[in-house]
């Protein structure tokens, strides 16, 4: 069905081969999960197996023999960059047009495909831009199903989704894949384990280190998975973070009838609250509830009304005491090297070279970036980029750090590393406000939770002790 013998592949400019004589065989109807650390080439292999490499993407490769499926579909990671049309119906129609499906048959087919993935819209002519990430990914699956594929390739389809979206996607995949072959790349195992039967485990050098039934691999290679940063069930229990810190009683931010406005409409409303020094506040809530908007309002990116004071002083413009880490770290980068990126804030303050050196070295060390100091920020891995953006944001010792889902789409290794670095920062007396979807992050790190519902700070509670949940049963 799917077969590759002695595959060699090299990315232009890299010094080493990514794959050296790699062989893999997949039978019809198998449901296979490819696992491995970031950068081990799982996604690349998926593209080779489907033929995307070298047909659409030129990457130098050769193989002794390669057998590709006759019909296949491919779901990509990023919901925003796999569609070419603006509306739901037009996107699926695009795939039907590609196969010369007669026009009269298109509308019923579109309805039927949307139904199959549980995306039942009142109007199929709905703008894709208005859908949530999870709905977009279901649309991606629907448009791929229009190809009537025997083999489905799924390349981390839930990496950029919240927990609800993730669950929905795997539910959908399960429903449609009964008679299909599945080849999946994913590092969040929670739901995907239900539908696969075989796991292929890679190491960081692009070699297969284990291949077999899922139970066997999961029980025998747990340590490897932990080291690789895979989100296997029970990873939090194995991680055992240190105890949470206590906040002080010194108030730093006071909000009363605070509103954030977009186009003159109130998008977030905080009736009354006070933030104390040293707190770690997790901002939670559904998609579109207004979590990011709250942070934007605090940063004064948008217009606000009501009382907003820091250390008793009313805030009028972008406050110097606050700093902000964006979801996409690249948007914050302004220089050509990791070193300069961290130094930038200090240079603006006209600090002496000695001072800059000392501070930057300290942060490089702390954020595990020392050996990358000369790299271009864009050339770092995702985890490194996130760490760099935090390092560059806190270089001027701002007492309050705001973060918009900083652990989003990260593997467990990078997530834990980043959270620990933040905790160190908190230990020094800084206050952290962080948007997150991850219940575990809330339980293990936050001292307080703000739950946002429909643009209102609806719940404000302290998280004192860490509750231990029983290890998840998946096997």
């Amino acid at each position: 069905m799917l077969n590759v013998e002695k595959l060699r592949l090299k990315f232009p400019g890299d010094s080493d081969l990514l794959f050296k004589d790699l062989s893999l065989h997949i039978e019809k109807g198998e449901k296979v999960l490819l696992l491995g650390p970031s950068g081990c080439g799982k996604s690349t292999l998926l593209q080779v197996l489907s033929g995307i490499i070298p047909q659409s993407v030129e990457v130098p490769m050769k193989a002794e023999s390669i057998e590709k499926p006759a019909s296949w579909g491919y779901v990509f990671q990023d919901p925003d960059s796999q569609f070419c049309m603006p509306y739901v119906d037009e996107e699926i129609a695009f795939v039907l047009e590609n196969q010369s499906v007669p026009r009269e048959e298109m509308r019923p087919r579109i309805r039927q495909l949307l139904k199959a993935v549980g995306l039942e819209l009142d109007d199929i002519h709905t703008n894709i831009h208005t859908l949530s990430g999870g709905m977009k990914q279901r649309l991606a699956i629907a448009s791929v199903l229009a190809l009537e594929p025997e083999v489905l390739f799924l390349d981390e389809p839930t990496a950029l989704l919240d927990p609800q979206g993730t669950e929905d996607i795997w539910h959908t995949v399960k429903a449609i894949s009964e008679h299909k072959t599945l080849v999946i790349v994913e590092h969040k195992l929670e739901h995907v384990l239900d539908l696969i039967n075989r796991i292929v485990l890679f190491n960081g050098e692009g070699e297969i280190i284990a291949d077999g039934p899922k139970q066997q691999i999961l029980s025998q290679h747990k340590d490897t998975m932990r080291a690789q940063g895979i989100w296997y069930p029970g990873v939090w229990e194995d991680y055992k973070p240190s105890e949470k810190l206590e906040a002080s009683s010194e108030p730093i931010i006071r909000l009363e009838q605070f509103k954030g406005l977009r186009q003159k409409e109130s998008k977030i409303h905080v009736p009354q609250t006070t933030v104390y020094k040293g707190e770690w506040i997790a901002v939670t809530g559904d998609n579109g509830a207004g979590k990011s908007t709250l942070l934007h309002a605090l940063m004064k990116f948008i217009k606000t009304t009501g009382t907003y004071e820091i250390y008793g002083n009313p805030v009028k413009k972008l406050p110097n005491d606050l700093t902000f880490v964006f979801q996409n770290p690249e948007f914050q980068f302004v220089t050509n090297s990791v070193y300069e990126e961290i130094a930038y804030g200090l240079r603006l303050e006209k600090r002496s070279q000695q001072e800059v050196d000392a501070k930057v070295e300290e942060l490089l060390e702390r954020f595990q970036l020392t050996s990358f100091r000369k790299h271009h920020p864009y050339q770092l891995s995702m985890g490194q980029k996130r760490r760099l953006s935090v390092a560059a944001s806190i270089v001027c010792n701002q007492p309050i750090l705001l973060l918009d889902e900083p652990t989003f789409g990260q593997d467990s290794k990078n997530t834990f590393a980043l959270l620990e670095m933040l905790r160190d920062y908190q230990k020094e007396g800084s206050t952290i406000l962080m948007v997150t979807h991850d219940e575990q992050v809330v339980e293990h790190f936050a001292t307080r939770v703000w739950k946002i519902e429909n643009g209102l700070l609806a719940e404000d509670r302290l998280v004192q002790t860490r509750e231990r949940e029983p290890a998840m049963e998946c096997l």
Partner: protein
């Protein structure tokens, strides 16, 4: 990008025909040197724009504000610095003559009619329909048409990114930098993330399109079959009528006392 509007007869015209007709009008207007004729033509185009775009009057009025600026800015250079014999006003380098004044006004109206026709087209044509029509009527290759459509889809995402980058730059303190060098630095700080993100996204979309078996080689069907209709005839007729009426009006009721605005020495 999502606006509510009513469909008018202008929306029903074949987009390719509409586009070529508008371009034809553009070329025609380039050879109109009679101010009075141009004035009536502009007036006619304006009626089309004002009454038949299908958009609420308030929005149409708002869209017109830049027209005035374009009119003024296009007209002034010629009015102040154009050649002419009959001096009206002279101060330093500025030299306004009767000839340069009318020529300037003529240029202003020319800019105005281009803007009016262009905006009428934009307001009454959905880009997706335009590209579907160009594939079917003008034999535009699908790989160009779909690339355009995919690109258009990204515009709102890019605009959102632009604002995010602006906020990020504020947090980083980029606006504190001053001087000429900072201008290039700012330009770079905006364009590098915007361009690199766009290039990666475009690349991924292209790969995704081919993964969905898009190819120029195979014959395709069309979700939106677009042809010609009677409205197209009405459209052509109305333009012919507009041109003829303008000729007669310019002849019988000239509003400006000038003919050809070009300079003859």
């Amino acid at each position: 990008m999502e606006f509510q509007y009513n469909e008018t007869w202008l929306h029903k015209i074949n987009p390719t025909l509409k586009l070529f007709f508008m371009v034809g009008m553009f070329l025609f207007v380039l050879f109109v040197h009679q101010l009075n004729l141009l004035l009536y033509l502009t007036f006619g185009a304006f009626i089309l724009f004002w009454f038949f775009s299908g958009h609420p009057k308030k929005r149409v009025a708002l869209l017109m504000i830049p027209f005035i600026l374009v009119f003024v800015s296009t007209a002034t250079s010629m009015i102040f610095f154009g050649k002419g014999e009959t001096t009206w006003f002279k101060f330093g380098l500025i030299h306004i003559t009767e000839e340069s004044f009318y020529r300037g006004i003529h240029l202003g109206f020319r800019a105005l009619i281009f803007a009016t026709l262009g905006l009428t087209f934009t307001l009454t044509t959905r880009p997706v329909k335009l590209f579907y029509s160009l594939m079917q009527q003008a034999k535009l290759k699908p790989k160009y048409a779909y690339s355009f459509m995919a690109g258009m889809r990204l515009i709102p995402i890019m605009i959102e990114e632009f604002f995010t980058i602006r906020n990020a730059m504020r947090v980083r303190g980029v606006q504190q930098q001053r001087g000429l060098r900072s201008l290039f630095f700012k330009l770079k700080s905006y364009s590098i993330p915007l361009l690199s993100q766009s290039i990666r996204r475009a690349h991924r979309i292209a790969v995704a399109m081919e993964a969905k078996r898009f190819s120029d080689a195979s014959k395709r069907t069309f979700y939106y079959p677009i042809g010609y209709s009677k409205t197209d005839g009405l459209f052509i007729l109305s333009f012919v009528a507009l041109i003829l009426l303008s000729y007669y009006s310019a002849e019988w009721l000239p509003l400006f006392p000038v003919g050809d605005v070009r300079y003859e020495s």
